[in-house]
Amino acid sequence: MLISQNWLKKYFTDDARSLPDAKTIENTFTMGIFEVEGVENVITGMENVSDTVYDIKVLPDRAHYCYSHRYVVQELGALLNIPANLPVYDPAKIASQIDSGLIVNVNVAEDKVVEEKNRFVCPRYMARRVEGVEAIASPLWLKTALEALGQKSINVLVDLTNYIMLETGQPLHAFDADKVEGDINVRYAKEGEIIVLLDGTEVALTSHILVIADEKDALAIAGVKGGKKAEVTAETKRIIIESANFDSVSVRKTSQKVGIKNESSKRYENKVTPERTQLAMNAISESIATIFPSAKFGNITDIYLGKPETKRFDVSVKFINDAIGLKEGIGADKIIDILLRCDIKAEATSNDNLTIHVPEYRLDLEIGYDIVDEVGRILNYMNLVPVPLQAEDNRPVLKNFYYMNALRKVFQGAGFSEVYTHSLKENGDVEILNPLNIERGFMRNTIGEGLIKNLEHNLRYVDLLGLDAVKIYEIGTIFGGKVERPSLAFGIANAKKVKGYNFEAEAEKVFNQILSSEYFVGTSLDLNILKSSAKFTEANIGTGGVNVVGNVCEIELQKIIEVLPDPKSDIYFETPKLIKYKKYSQYPFMVRDISVFVPGEAIQAEAVKSIITKNGTELLNSVRLFDVYTKNKEGEPVKTSYALRLVFQSDDRTLTDDEVTQIMQNITTEMNGVEGWEVR
């Protein structure tokens, strides 16, 4: 909601305690009630007048009253402890302009919102006929006020309805009285009934949509949008002002159905008290009377079906102090003072008890904790002294969490990388009613099968990663039937075919690593349990005719954890070093191998590498020594061969063969330049 500083100023008229600067106001909003999402300086249509506009994020619990300058001012005044002079609209001020012959007949459907007894679809409908007005251009002050908040000025009559809405939070509507045929009827639309809206669009209505109609046609979609038929135009001389209340859910559903969201529907959706229609009707009447001193006003027709009961409840001084946790407690007097700043009347009814009289516009105040919030934020939470918790020695350890971490320790030690993959998958037993897309329409019933794809994907990057094999695992939840359960899957894909490789034997090695680890040794867990809870999957993941296999083993974790003893204390990993993640390049990488003979035993690896890194440029991504052997032949000097794999990649482009070849040439030249070195 946009709030204008100039508008705020109108209410803070006490010279001695005027409003602080914009920065302080912003901070007061943020720390006391609503986050400020933006502050903008606005040049207005008035000469030498600028404005500051705050974009405040009104929270759902206060939206029913704070979509208004009036109540935002009330809150700001309470927080700053500067009294605000909110305008009082006394109907007596226009008494001389009343003409009781001007009548609006209103009939309101007495429907209630389904299932709820005291919620009428239209709890209150107020209307008043006004004559002797003209839809002239708005005075500059009004135009300026609206434009500062991004509203377009239309004519003075329409502008005033908008202005009073922005002030009071109560949406208003003006109909051209001469275009209204007969009574005003608040009723459900007929199926297929057509309304032409103010902007000219035609909307076909359904029987669930509430409309304001005359005897023939729908004049407006209740709480959402006015229609063309009774539009206020340049010819308008007589109007009917509507200040009504509509049920929040009914307006929300209508607004969704017709696809219109606006300032009016937003306020109704957040519930406005039906009590406020009176304030807004009085306010607009007074404003019209000021601009049109000869205007005549009919009496207000007021159909009030759903008058809310006045609310009061009790809360104790001790409860408020305890809940905030004030080191030095505050007494009833201080609380009463604070609440008064918030326009809430509190009465000390006994030693420790306060009776709270809830103002009619505060629908959110219902329980003691609501009062805690009012008192707490006025005291300012930034000043609250933190209080430590009592020591707690009894801290049970969650078995699942403990053993999952124990397994992570083992897999980490066995050289596996942990991955997290999606639970929403293409297949499964548990189907999503409204999936994002068909690839994610089910809750997974296996982790392992999904890991095959990850093996395949990562195999492309083994050189970049400096790996001979991709070894990954995931611990997560799988969903079968109506039961969900924890699962662990691990998979291996070798970059090159390994002679005599057998995945089940590899898995057994992993099992033995589990069993011999400190977390499992000496427990009832054994190889048989592990084997019997394991399921193996194999898939060909080779590309381009290469025969590469990915293997996965998935373990039913519940079967393992149930045989294990209750752990005594949690397992922790070392606090990670502050690593900064480096975004990996999206461009292809190039691999080059180089091997060089160096005189002497195998102690020169670092010297070899340093020549490579020196010449490698910023394109050199990694260097890996993959083979070393020493030639020690009778009669020949001892020499050692070092074979290295170099990976080149750029962060911002695809490398050319030529530039990498040039780098390799530079490396070769420098190596061959060293006495006795020989690039093979």
Binding site: Y369, R377, E392, F411, Q412, R440, L451, V470, K609, L625
Partner: protein, 258 residues
């Protein structure tokens, strides 16, 4: 939303080549996913002040996910455009869903335990959101709850302040800003100062009596606080990760940096 935060020239970062000096035989060290590392770091911090780990199912009833947490029947968070729903109803005919937050763990723990207790519950949650660099349909949260006699906002402030200092660093500036969640009152958002900006990292507040009653605990005898944090954002802030999709890609170019 998240700064890439990579600076050339830092150790192992940016322009300088990362030289992997180990021969294959030595290269047996595995890698822990940064989410695991973060969850464990958070659990450790809270365990030091007596919080025990709790868990709950990822598929929940509508009651535990919404009703028990005082979310209004007609609240938009229950709509199809915000929440995934399962096609099939639960055993008692109730609507089922992949949980939209870890808060149902509060309800389950209250129903099965006598206070006082302190819990910390990390887990996966689901929202009907299209995926981009800062949004995922599946992500992680951690829930905390403390129920005891006379639990206060001053206690809550203590717990979250000490957490922020331990997790983000002793010097981290923090603020306690009024906010709204249906299951707490008063409700707060906890912001930390991160590179000259305030960032929301945690929602918190005092547990509403309706929620305690749904958990079978008498709010006249007990009080408590609860808090929840989105873990992905914390992981991303901590390590300078700019795209949430990396977290669930299973790509070792990502995981093996940790």
């Amino acid at each position: 939303m998240i700064d890439a935060n990579t600076k050339a020239g830092e150790e192992g970062v940016g322009g300088a080549p990362v030289v992997v000096s180990a021969a294959p035989a030595e290269n047996t060290g595995g890698h822990l996913h940064p989410m695991t590392q973060t969850i464990n770091e958070i659990v450790k911090i809270f365990s030091e002040i007596g919080f025990q780990v709790a868990e709950g199912p990822e598929i929940e009833t509508e009651f535990n996910n919404f009703d028990a947490l005082n979310v209004p029947k007609d609240h938009t968070s229950r709509d199809m455009q915000d929440t995934f729903w399962l096609k099939d109803a639960g055993l008692a005919g109730e609507r089922m869903l992949p949980r939209t937050h870890t808060s149902p763990v509060q309800i389950r723990f209250m129903q099965s335990h006598q206070p006082p207790f302190r819990i910390i519950a990390p887990g996966k949650v689901f929202r009907n959101e299209s995926t981009d660099a800062t949004h995922e349909a599946e992500f992680f949260q951690v829930e905390g709850m403390y129920i005891d006699k006379n639990v206060s906002l001053a206690n809550l402030k203590f717990v979250l302040e000490s957490f922020v200092k331990k997790f983000f660093g002793e010097e981290t500036e923090m603020r306690f800003r009024p906010s709204y969640f249906p299951f707490v009152e008063p409700g707060f958002e906890i912001d930390i100062r991160w590179k000259d900006r305030w960032l929301e990292v945690c929602g918190a507040g005092l547990v509403r009596p309706e929620v305690m009653e749904a958990g079978g605990i008498d709010p006249k005898d007990w009080s408590g606080f609860a808090f929840g944090m989105g873990l992905d954002r914390m992981v991303m802030l901590k390590y300078g990760i700019d795209d949430i999709r990396n977290m669930y890609s299973g790509d070792l170019r990502f995981v093996n940096q940790f």
